[in-house]
Symmetry: C2
Subunit: 228 residues, 2 copies
Amino acid sequence: MDIKNSLKYIPLFKGLFDRQIEELSKIAMRYSFLKGKIIFSEGDEADGFYVLLSGRVKIFKVSRDGKEQILHIIEAQEPFGEVPAFAGKRFPANAEAIEDTIALFFPRESIIQLMKNDPSIALNMLALLSQRLRQFTDLVEGLSLKEVPQRLAAYMLLISEREKTDNIELNINKKQLASLLGTIPETISRILAKMVVKNLIDVNGKRIKLIDKRALEELAYGAKLDIQ
Amino acid sequence: MDIKNSLKYIPLFKGLFDRQIEELSKIAMRYSFLKGKIIFSEGDEADGFYVLLSGRVKIFKVSRDGKEQILHIIEAQEPFGEVPAFAGKRFPANAEAIEDTIALFFPRESIIQLMKNDPSIALNMLALLSQRLRQFTDLVEGLSLKEVPQRLAAYMLLISEREKTDNIELNINKKQLASLLGTIPETISRILAKMVVKNLIDVNGKRIKLIDKRALEELAYGAKLDIQ
DNA sequence: TATTTCTTTTGACTTAAGTCAATGTGTGTG
DNA sequence: CACACACATTGACTTAAGTCAAAAGAAATA
């Protein structure tokens, strides 16, 4: 259980001295969550935040009739649930492990104390929250100003860029993908089918080959899928 | 031109010593923007952020065909344009003065230096960014999981709470309100008319009297406007 | 391998809200 | 005061995407 070693390579803790990492490793609490486990719910009181060591976590909102909107999918090394550590005191959304997950929990007070002694972690956290704000900006833009085909094209291009390949593999199922893009699985199916017909992509189960990236970029930027 | 005195009461700078306020007042640059003036555009490089002294500023995204989504309306004392100061280096959205406006500009480097000396401003900024994340969470929820009548009800209740009166006054026009709620003015008109018919509200130009708050809350929470 | 269960796809239909156009209501300027 | 311009409302129509239901595939369990 070498917490210290895991901490060393977490971007949030970049620039800290070994001494501080040592200290952090002492206050961190290690939790395991099985796939499907709710980690926290909207409205829960929080007295700290998490850093994901392994697995994946979705942060999401639910409507009264059960529809889900994913705000963020947290990958290893990223912190999550940090909002109430700095403002308000309750989580603004829900978190669920979508894979078997291990996470560290840091109590609010310890981190703030650490920030008071060494501002580098505060600056790292500011960078992280700013990054999140930027992502939200794109999410809002997508939901409000773009249609589903445009959001889907943007998503595929994002994955393609991140994985540095035109042969992407969806690491989430269609239900989650739909929830991430603010739509429903049926709509995703229909649009992918249409994109195949138009020779923009080729689909093979969870693998999608981006054929006409030029057209996909046009689409992601705001062109219509249907003109022809 | 007493910048020092204005700085003293800005929440972001709470907890600073007079000496530091003094210093800040020296590095701040004062700008005036007439109503309608673009302050910055998405993609512009930024080397600092603003604090609004007077007037109001809208932060917004625009789609290729010109539709606008307001992300935030900045009121006096609030900072804005702070994302690129901490991550990335370009503004993720546009800012426009919607009233004659005075703002201070703080260069990135000076603020970071200040944070390194005194973490309290970093903690204030963390609180602020967290607050913004929380607001985005609600915006995304509204756009994705709620229908326009529900968003509108929530908005009216928010104003009513903020102003502590059931007799609210819209301080933005319908076009901006629509853009804030992710819809268009026509839809706002129609829904307000429907709410009047159902005796939820009473409209008188820019003044709206909330008659049936119970029903509005139900609606804001997710009930349907049309069941009857 | 069979069987159950979950996921995805397809089709027919509905609906909220957008578009476009015309009309009405204010508001500010010369 | 009148004119012009911006803002707001209303009506008729269109449309993207949601709902519901059924079938087909894939994956997990026995």
